[in-house]
Symmetry: C2
Subunit: 204 residues, 2 copies
Amino acid sequence: MQQSTKIRRLVSLFSRLPGVGEKTAQRYVLHLLTSDPEVARDLGRELGGLHDELRPCARCGNIAEVVPTEEPTVCDICKDPRRDTRLLCVVGRIHDLLAIERTGAMRGRYFVLGRLLSPLEGIGPEELPVPRLVARIADEGVTEVIVATPPSVDGEATALLLKRELAATGVTMTRIASGVPHGGDLEYADPITMGRALSGRQSL
Amino acid sequence: MQQSTKIRRLVSLFSRLPGVGEKTAQRYVLHLLTSDPEVARDLGRELGGLHDELRPCARCGNIAEVVPTEEPTVCDICKDPRRDTRLLCVVGRIHDLLAIERTGAMRGRYFVLGRLLSPLEGIGPEELPVPRLVARIADEGVTEVIVATPPSVDGEATALLLKRELAATGVTMTRIASGVPHGGDLEYADPITMGRALSGRQSL
């Protein structure tokens, strides 16, 4: 079958979602075509308005709902007066912020870098919003910065960069722990993870 | 974070796509939120018009582009005069039709059942479009029906039902082969597949 241009366009748009190849995109389109038309229409409408209703938080980079009377747009976490302003958690992506929020263990606020230092992808220090982070630490009287970038090459490089760049602020800097995950089997832990579990050992 | 209603709505809509759970749906939404707004807008627009521009083919059930001056809507395969009308391939879903078309080996036309017989899901014989299939065989002078439902319990049950229901038409009925797939290892073939490969053996 020569696929119709309409289908090809939709398949190529769906393929831009993370982890979606052409086959998966085609499955999505066929599913929507053979389902209740309301689903495609609703999804279409919601997507069309997505960027008008949601925007990055002007303070932390988290997703924030646009409130027409409020300018700049600030997210629920930054608005929440019960959050401890002295504690600031720096993450690479919004996904990571959400993962940390799910634990319910973070009582401070966040700062989303949006990207990690990555020499391989050509992302250098000047592409990270370090000046904004420094300004925020001063403005809000932050006393501890938790660096929650992932324990990967890029994540570690970013953590080291932040350590250097924030040294002058005098803030206490901590790094999330890396080691054998909960329920993980020591036998199957890779050598780097196992090494970190050892070097990061804590007193019992 | 209390997720905004907008995000929750979008996540629940994306979760209706096949194989998409809440986590994947959330990744899609975050990806779209942090990408060029054009992608979400384009996807939204295309999805909104999906069911106005495409419709099931009135003859075979394949996807057909709506042409305002043509009524009823008929797909490219049914319109193609080079296709052999005497050969009709019956499939369960449009996905299967597309998989067969990709081989380039089918020179006849198709009939999409839309569903398979499934006692477990409560889909009985009366829910299959058998009368429409019988009418089409008579109308178009079909001489061979290739039953290309999958080699699963439901697919086999559907094939047997069709064999019984189409007996009176006098049409020749064939079934696609089932056996060890190309490149497959005999060692890893499951016993049912291996049994079919043996019972379906052909002379060398």
